[in-house]
C-alpha cells in the first residue's frame, strides 16, 4: 500500500501511517468529535502502546478532550484490555486506545470505547463519524475545561480481574516462553511473574517506539520464525506470541511447533464450552470450520458474521450476554465469556495454560487431538468495479454448494469451503479455501483462475 493513501477513517476509528497519512489535525478533530459524542458524565480513560508517535497523538487527544470539558485519566503505556477494564472501574464515560496493534511501527490508530469498556456499536460509531465530518464540536467555556491525571495502578487492577477467573497459583510450576514483539505484553507478563510467581520467560521484551524485532503479526509463520525454535531450548511447556497491544496471541507447542493461528479459537472453545452456560460461538466467515466440529461436540452453535471487529460487536450486542460462550477471529483475537467486552491475548494465554493443567496433557498432545483441517489463502489485486461480476460468476460456477453472501461470497460443501471477499483497506480480493484433511489445492486453483481471468 502506498504511503499517501494510508489514512483510514471508518466505524472502527482512525488509522494511518503517522506523518504521511495520519496527522495531528485528524487526531484533534476525531478526539473532539468523541468528546462531543459522549453523553454520559464521567472522565475518558486513555492509554497507548509504545510507538514513538503515541506521545504526539496522546497530546492531541488530551487537548481535545479537555477542551470538550472532559477529565482525562491517562494510564500511560498499557495494553488495550487494561484500558477497557479500567473504564468500568472508574465509571468513565468512555475510553480511547492509542496504538496500531498488529500493524507495523510507522502506523498508529485510535480505538474508541463506550461505557463499561465496550467497543462502539455500528450505530454509535456512525454518529461519531458524522460529528467528525461535520466538525461541529461542543467546546466547553474556559472555566469548565477538563483536567488530566495519571493513574498508576491500572495494570494491577486488571490483573486482579484476571486473578478472579484464573488460578495463578496453580500455574506457577509451568514454564512459559513469550514473544512480546516489543509491545505492552512485556509489562503485563513481568508483573504477573512478580505478583503471582509464574515462570514466564520473555523475548523481545524491551518496549520499543521505532523498530520492532519483527512484524507484530500473530501468524503461525511468525511463530515458526521467531518463537518456536526457542521453546525447546528454554524447556517451556508452551510459547505465546503477542501483538503490540496484547489483544491477539499465537501459540507454539512445547515441541517447538508453531500452531496455526486458526487453532486458537477452536482450542479455547473446546475448553470454555463445557463450562459456559452460553452455547453460541461468534466468529467470521473466514475462520476455520474446525470450530463447528468442536462446537457441535458440546451442543453449541457457531454464528458466522462478516469479517471485521465491528460485525462481531454488533452480533454480540444482539444476544443476551449469557447466551454467548465466546467470540473471536482466526487471527488469534478471542473474547472469553468472563470478559465479553474485550479481545485479550493474555486472558487467552491463561485459558490455554489452564486447559493444559486441567487435562494433564502437553500442549502438543492437545493440539494433535483435533482432526486436521488445511487452509490455503491468497490475495489478488482487482478493481472494485469488477467485484460484483466476479462474485456472480463464482456463484453460478459453484451452484452445487451452499452460498452465503453476507460478506463477499462463501460457498460450503461438506468438509470443504471457500470464501472470497474484498479487503476493507486495499483494492484486493482475498481468497480463503479450507478442507478437512489434505489441502484443497484443486478447488483453490480453480477459484483463483476465475479471479485472475477477471483481473
Amino acid at each position: 500500500m502506498s504511503a499517501p493513501n494510508s489514512l483510514r477513517i471508518s466505524h472502527v476509528g482512525l488509522r494511518g501511517i503517522v506523518g504521511s497519512g495520519l496527522h495531528a489535525a485528524h487526531v484533534l478533530d476525531f478526539a473532539a468529535a468523541f468528546g462531543t459524542f459522549l453523553e454520559t458524565a464521567g472522565a475518558v480513560v486513555i492509554g497507548r502502546d509504545p510507538r514513538a508517535s503515541g506521545v504526539m497523538i496522546r497530546e492531541g487527544v488530551v487537548a481535545a478532550l479537555l477542551a470538550c470539558g472532559r477529565d482525562v485519566v491517562d494510564l500511560g503505556v498499557v495494553s488495550t484490555p487494561v484500558i477497557q477494564h479500567n473504564i468500568g472501574r472508574l465509571e468513565a464515560a468512555g475510553g480511547i486506545s492509542i496504538g496500531a496493534s498488529h500493524n507495523a511501527a510507522e502506523w498508529n490508530a485510535l480505538k474508541f470505547f463506550g461505557r463499561d469498556g465496550t467497543y462502539l456499536s455500528t450505530a454509535e460509531a456512525g454518529e461519531l463519524l458524522d460529528i467528525y465530518h461535520l466538525r461541529k464540536f461542543q467546546f466547553a467555556p474556559y472555566d469548565r475545561l477538563g483536567s488530566s491525571r495519571l493513574l498508576e495502578d491500572a495494570v494491577d487492577w486488571y490483573l486482579d480481574r484476571l486473578a478472579e477467573v484464573y488460578d495463578f497459583a496453580a500455574l506457577r510450576g509451568v514454564r512459559v516462553l513469550a514473544d512480546c514483539t516489543n509491545g505492552t505484553s512485556s509489562l503485563l507478563l513481568r508483573r504477573i511473574s512478580e505478583r503471582f510467581g509464574m515462570d514466564i520467560h520473555l523475548i523481545n521484551a524491551a518496549m520499543e517506539g521505532v523498530e520492532f524485532a519483527h512484524p507484530p503479526s500473530t501468524t503461525a509463520k511468525m511463530v515458526a520464525l521467531q518463537l518456536a525454535p526457542l521453546v525447546t531450548l528454554v524447556g517451556a511447556a508452551a510459547g505465546f506470541l503477542f501483538d503490540v497491544d496484547s489483544d491477539r496471541v499465537a501459540i507454539a507447542t512445547e515441541q517447538g511447533e508453531a500452531v496455526s493461528e486458526e487453532m486458537v479459537l477452536p482450542l479455547l472453545a473446546d475448553h470454555v464450552l463445557p463450562r459456559s452456560e452460553g452455547k453460541l460461538v461468534i466468529t467470521n466467515l473466514s475462520s476455520t470450520a474446525l470450530l463447528e466440529e468442536v462446537a457441535s461436540g458440546h451442543g453449541a452453535r457457531v454464528l458466522r458474521v462478516p469479517v471485521g471487529r465491528q460485525a462481531a460487536m454488533d452480533a454480540l450486542a444482539s444476544y443476551r450476554p449469557e447466551q454467548i460462550a465466546l467470540a473471536g477471529e482466526g487471527t488469534g483475537a478471542v473474547m472469553l465469556p468472563q470478559f465479553r467486552f474485550v479481545y485479550d491475548g493474555i486472558a487467552s494465554m491463561l485459558e490455554v495454560l489452564t486447559m493444559m493443567r486441567e487435562r494433564g496433557q502437553r500442549l502438543s498432545e492437545i493440539v494433535r487431538s483435533y482432526p486436521r483441517y488445511s487452509m490455503l489463502k491468497a490475495e489478488v489485486p482487482l478493481e472494485s468495479t469488477l467485484v460484483p461480476d466476479l462474485l456472480m460468476e463464482l456463484r453460478q460456477a459453484y451452484s452445487d454448494g451452499t452460498a452465503n453472501i453476507a460478506d463477499g461470497l462463501r460457498i460450503d460443501w461438506p468438509g470443504r469451503w471457500f470464501h472470497i471477499r474484498v479487503s476493507q483497506t486495499e483494492p484486493i480480493v482475498r481468497v480463503i479455501c479450507e478442507q478437512k484433511g489434505e489441502p484443497p489445492q484443486k478447488l483453490f486453483d480453480d477459484v483463483l483462475d476465475h479471479v485472475r481471468r477477471m483481473a
Binding site: V18, V55, G60, F137, E211
Partner: protein, 453 residues
C-alpha cells in the same frame, strides 16, 4: 458603527483568543505545528501561566510541536521572562509561552520566541503566518517523532541568578525590607515568593500567590486594579508593594503609603538604577514619559524612541546596544543583561537595590523624579477615518516637532500629544503629557475638539 466581536486574532503577533468557541485546540495545535516547522526539528521550550485553559492549550501545543518533529522541553508554570531567559541559554530552536499576559481570564494566547529567547522580528512573524496559512507543515514520521522532556528547576535558578548579579544582594538582605506582593495568582506567584523572601531576605507579606486559584482582580496591574495591594501595604506597614500581571512580565509598585505610582515613574527609577551601574543608552516607546529623558540626561545618556510594542523596543535596543529600555505606559522593563524581554524581577531587584543604597522611604526616592502631568485615554473610531483625523490634528495644532513613526506625536518644549491606533483592538489610543497641570488641561482641550466633546 457595527459592533464586532474580536474574540480570535491570528496575525503577525501570533494567535490570541477567547477559549471555547474561538481559540480551539485545533488552532493552537496547528499554529504550534507551523512554529515547529518554521524553527526546525530541534528542542522547543514550552511553558505557561496559570490560566484555567493553560493545561488544555499546552497539550495542543505539544501535539503540534511533536508532529513537526520537535522535542518538547516542558518547563511548567513560569513567568514569561523566566521562559525567555531559559530559551536563550538552553541551546533550543525556540520557545512558546502559553499566556494571554494581562488579558482577561477567558483569553489565552501563544507568545513565540526564537532560539535567543526573543520575540520574532516583523519579517519572521510574517513568514510564520504565511506558513500557517499555507498549512504547509512538517509531518514527522514515527521514527522522527521525539519525546517530551521536562526541566522544572533550571529556568527559575537561571533567571534569579541573572537578575541578582547586577544588584548588591547582601545590602538588600541586611535591610530586611518588609515587602507586600500581589501575584494575581499568576505564573510568577511561586517564583516571586522565592525571589523576594529567600533570595533577597525580605519580610514578605504576600497575597494572591496560589497558582491553582483564578485571578482575583483584573489582570493588568494598574493603580485602579491594585487597591488590595495598597491596603496590604498600609495594614502591614510595608516599605514597598509589588503588583505583577499573570505572566510576570509587567510590574506596578505601591509606595509605603500605599499609593500606586505611575508606571512611567517605575521605569524611570529602574532606568536610573541601571544607569548608575552600567554604561549604555536608553530605548523607550513614543508614549513613554519625558521623565526618562531627564533621568538619562542626568547620566549623560541618550534616549531613543520607537513605535509602541515590545518587539519594536527590543529591536532598537539591540541596534544601539542599549543598557536599559522599556515601555513606561504598560509597566514593561527590558534589561538586556538579563534578557531582551519585559521582566518584573529586574524591576523589583533594582528598586530594592536603590532603596537599600539610598536609605530613604520609597516615596521620597520616587518624589525626587521630575514631575509631569499625564493622561491616557482611548476612543472607538471608524476604520478609514484615521488618516484624515491624524492630518487634521497635525494641521490644527501646529507643533514645533512631529514624529509620524507610530500614529502621530506632536511635541512642544513643555508637553506632547500622542495619538495612535491600537494594534489589537479597533481603538484609538491617546496620551498627553505636560510639565504643568495647566498645560495638560490646555493640550487636552485642544485635542478634545476633534471628538466634538
Amino acid at each position: 458603527m457595527i459592533p464586532r466581536e474580536h474574540k480570535l486574532k491570528i496575525g503577525v503577533s501570533g494567535i490570541r483568543g477567547e477559549v471555547g468557541e474561538f481559540l480551539t485546540p485545533s488552532l493552537a495545535c496547528g499554529f504550534a505545528q507551523a512554529f515547529g516547522t518554521y524553527v526546525g526539528a530541534g528542542r522547543v521550550v514550552v511553558g505557561r501561566d496559570t490560566r484555567a485553559s493553560g493545561e488544555m492549550i499546552q497539550h495542543a501545543v505539544c501535539c503540534g510541536l511533536l508532529a513537526a518533529g520537535c522535542e518538547v522541553i516542558d518547563v511548567g508554570i513560569l513567568p514569561t521572562p523566566t521562559i525567555q531567559v531559559y530559551v536563550g541559554s538552553a541551546g533550543c530552536r525556540g520557545g512558546i509561552a502559553i499566556t494571554a499576559s494581562h488579558n482577561p481570564p477567558e483569553y489565552n494566547a501563544l507568545k513565540l520566541f526564537n532560539r535567543h529567547g526573543l520575540f520574532f522580528n516583523h519579517y519572521e512573524r510574517g513568514e510564520l503566518l504565511d506558513l500557517y496559512h499555507q498549512s504547509d507543515f512538517q509531518h514527522a514520521t514515527n521514527a522522527q517523532i521525539r519525546r517530551i522532556a521536562s526541566d522544572m528547576e533550571t529556568p527559575r535558578r537561571l533567571h534569579c541568578e541573572r537578575v541578582l548579579q547586577f544588584v548588591d544582594v547582601e545590602r538588600i538582605r541586611n535591610k530586611r525590607f518588609r515587602v507586600a506582593l500581589d501575584g494575581v495568582n499568576g505564573a510568577g506567584s511561586l517564583l516571586s515568593v522565592e525571589f523576594l523572601r529567600d533570595r533577597l531576605g525580605c519580610d514578605l507579606r504576600a497575597m494572591s500567590v496560589d497558582p491553582s486559584r483564578p485571578f482575583p482582580r483584573e489582570a493588568e496591574p494598574r493603580p485602579d486594579t491594585l487597591g488590595d495591594l495598597s491596603e496590604l501595604v498600609r495594614r502591614e506597614g510595608c516599605d514597598v508593594g509589588f503588583g505583577q500581571d499573570p505572566d510576570g512580565d509587567r510590574l506596578a509598585i505601591a509606595d509605603e503609603t500605599g499609593r500606586v505610582i505611575d508606571n512611567d515613574d517605575v521605569l524611570a527609577l529602574v532606568v536610573d538604577g541601571v544607569l548608575r551601574r552600567l554604561p549604555g543608552d536608553v530605548v523607550v516607546n513614543l508614549t513613554t514619559s519625558s521623565v526618562i529623558d531627564d533621568v538619562a540626561s542626568a547620566h549623560g545618556r541618550r534616549v531613543y524612541r520607537t513605535p509602541v510594542g515590545e518587539a519594536n523596543v527590543v529591536e532598537s535596543m539591540r541596534a544601539v546596544k542599549a543598557a536599559i529600555g522599556g515601555e513606561g505606559s504598560n509597566g514593561g522593563i527590558i534589561f538586556p543583561a538579563v534578557q531582551y524581554c519585559r521582566d518584573s524581577y529586574t524591576g523589583m531587584a533594582f528598586i530594592l537595590d536603590r532603596m537599600a543604597a539610598a536609605g530613604e522611604p520609597f516615596s521620597v526616592i520616587a518624589g525626587r523624579l521630575p514631575r509631569y502631568w499625564r493622561i491616557a485615554g482611548r476612543m472607538d473610531f471608524e476604520h478609514g477615518r484615521l488618516g484624515m483625523l491624524m492630518q487634521s490634528i497635525e494641521e490644527a495644532l501646529q507643533a514645533p516637532a512631529v514624529d509620524r513613526s507610530d500614529g502621530l506625536k506632536l511635541i512642544w518644549p513643555d508637553g506632547w500629544i500622542h495619538v495612535r491606533a491600537s494594534n489589537t483592538e479597533p481603538l484609538l489610543r491617546m496620551a498627553v503629557e505636560a510639565a504643568s497641570e495647566a498645560r495638560l488641561r490646555q493640550l487636552q482641550d485642544r485635542l478634545r475638539q476633534f471628538w466634538g466633546q
